[in-house]
């Protein structure tokens, strides 16, 4: 098993697709061409959609937004490996994984534009909404997995969080529960080296994030986070173990946040251009493109066509999001409880009468 071969305590890291696009043949997974192509398209779509979100924010058309640039492989690799009923529990920087799993891009834009409807995903998409309090989604993933296991479903739960998230008590309590309950969980830490301005080494003295699994009695593995194949392979093995009742796995996806923390942040205050350039050189999309090209699946024409298609798609989705109606006054009250308490209805009516015109 990979988790045996790549022991983080021995300084091992799983790498398959090298930064020049060449591949470790021994570890290369067999993936259908159409899946590979879908993965590539989603990565490119994510990149374009992400850049668009930043632009929209600058134009005042979208709120504070956390760019995901550079982390596309880290999110889409796992998504490839997931089964149709598996759940995706995320933090707030997992645009790519969500798109791949079928959350409409316009809904995600809608969320970042500040409309709760953006977190109402279509039936059949098993994904939780964005979670802002860092790490607090981790126990949910365990509960979701437990429910599936208790009903004897063949469902596993993939849960994302950041390197910063591993410092929170919720991370610890969640992973510890999962270990004890042997829930079908795959925990993926997107270690993008930064938690706002705090570098990975000041976040924890542990040498790797992967080795934190030792504390919970299940395997941990560190994976090149810019290598979509490595992420796919590691997640696939973890999901298989989960489904067989062999319990959870912690995957550290070693990647990099190419953008600012959010559009409110200015990363030049705390990190060096040099680091950015080094990582630009390890871009997950570029190397995947070389891989596909080497496999005869890709070329310049296709690339050009894809970029056009994807840009058009993004514009479409923005339009959908922007034309989505603003929540009504009542929408903001309606979902506090299943049934609106009498006093709340009274408050609502009183406030409605008082709201200055234009506000409603």
């Amino acid at each position: 098993m990979l988790v045996d071969d790549f022991d983080p305590l021995k300084g091992k890291r799983l790498e398959i697709l090298r930064k020049d696009g060449s591949v470790n043949k021994k570890l290369e997974p067999k993936i259908d061409d159409d899946i590979l192509l879908k993965a590539y398209r989603t990565m490119v779509l994510t990149r374009v959609a992400d850049e668009k979100a930043v632009k929209l924010q600058r134009q005042g058309r979208l709120g504070a937004y956390p760019p995901t640039k550079g982390q596309e492989a880290s999110q889409i690799g796992p998504a490839l490996a997931m089964g149709p009923n598996d759940w995706l529990v995320w933090a707030f920087r997992e645009l790519g994984g969500l798109i791949y799993r079928g959350v409409p891009l316009w809904r995600l834009y809608l969320y970042w534009m500040g409309n709760e409807e953006g977190s109402s995903y279509p039936e059949g998409v098993h994904a939780t909404p964005s979670v802002v309090p860092v790490g607090s989604q981790v126990p949910h993933a365990v509960g979701i997995a437990y429910a599936a296991k208790q009903r004897k479903e063949d469902t596993a739960v993939v849960c994302f969080f950041g390197d910063g998230g591993t410092s929170e008590g919720d991370f610890h309590e969640g992973l510890n529960f999962a270990g004890v309950m042997r829930t079908p969980n795959v925990f993926i830490c997107q270690n993008n080296q930064w938690a706002i301005s705090v570098p990975r080494e000041r976040q924890t003295a542990s040498k790797t994030i992967a080795q934190k699994a030792v504390a919970y009695g299940f395997p941990g593995i560190q994976v090149d986070g810019n290598d979509v194949l490595a992420l796919y392979v590691a997640t696939k093995e973890a999901l298989e173990r989960a489904r067989k009742g062999e319990g959870p796995t912690l995957i550290e996806s070693y990647t990099y946040r190419m953008g600012d923390h959010t559009t409110s942040d200015d990363a030049t205050r705390y990190r060096l251009e040099k680091e950015l350039l080094e990582w630009a050189d390890r871009d997950p999309i570029a190397r995947f493109r070389v891989y596909l090209t080497n496999r005869g699946l890709w070329g310049e024409e296709k690339e050009k066509a894809l970029l056009e298609e994807v840009s058009a798609t993004v514009e479409e989705e923005v339009k959908k999001a922007e034309s989505f109606p603003r929540p009504t006054f009542e929408d903001c009250f309606r979902h506090t409880f299943a049934t609106m308490p009498e006093d709340l209805r009274e408050q609502m009516e009183a406030l409605r009468r008082e709201l200055p015109t234009g506000r409603e």
């Binding site: 759940w87 709760e116 409807e117 977190s119 109402s120 995903y121 939780t128 909404p129 979670v131 802002v132 309090p133 607090s136 981790v138 126990p139 949910h140 993933a141 365990v142 509960g143 979701i144 997995a145 437990y146 429910a147 599936a148 208790q150 009903r151 008590g169 919720d170 309590e173 969640g174 510890n176 529960f177 004890v180 309950m181 929408d331 979902h335 506090t336 409880f337 299943a338 308490p341 009498e342 006093d343 709340l344």
Partner: protein, 324 residues
Amino acid sequence: MVMMNMVQSINLALREEMERDTSVVLLGEDVGVDGGVFRVTEGLLDRFGTERVIDTPLAEAGIAGVAIGMAMNGLRPVAEVQFMGFGYLTLNQMICHAARMRNRTRGRLTVPMVLRTPYGAGVKALEHHSESTEALFTQIPGLKVVVPSTPLEAKGLLTSSIRDPDPVIFLEPTRSYRMLKEEVPSGEYTVPLSQARVVQEGIDLTVIGWGAMIPQIQKALDSLAGKFSCEVLDLRTLSPLDSNAIIRSVKKTGRCVVVQEAPKSFGVGAEIAARINEKALLSLEAPVERVAAPDITIPLPKGEDYYYIGPERIKSAIERTMSF
């Protein structure tokens, strides 16, 4: 019908709901093999097995968070926190997620869970075992807060709480766990949430309380031996509050004493007084008096009697209010 104390009636409610609905599961520290430190879950592990009665690791935020996840995926978890004083660890999960998931996803994901915990003082317990910080929860939109005052009430309210589609904080007055037995029916018995109970009708003054204060109020009235005609309201649900019942009663009596075990300031009693002020000011013939603990940390057992509200204080407050 069988005579039961509150521990037994809660146990019965849990058992029956677990039988009725296989999605109901219990989780918490020592709820399984040990049957709970108060024996509230006694016998349930044997009956329903380890998959539905889950002894968890010692981690309250984890218990709350895992229960939230379970509820998001089709279960109806009833989580136990061993004492309210350890419930502060659940606040982040309950405030940020349990209370908000429905609104956040516009109804797509919901959190039908119950967080049960023994609460309140008056039993000379260790530090942190006597808390009554219910107002931490009542102020959070999206959470319901329920407090039973008798065994029968406990059965009906817990059953309704488990069936409720929204998260409920269910506070069990430790002092009342074994204080009193009454007849409790087996089988279907529910008490609707957000409806106060008129314990006794009266026309001179309204006394409002909940949980372990109800018997103290009754003792105070006994000692007054019918001197005044007091209406007693047991709130049962602290949030969303049954304003109507309060206002209706105070409009009738014109006088009100609120009995709150917690420290006085910023407690549930303040909200009651504020609402009465808003909606029944002109009916008031005296200030709404709050009988409450002082604004101090609850003393350890040797000092608890200074702090805990007995019938005497309630009686004086009633007399003061009547003679205002």
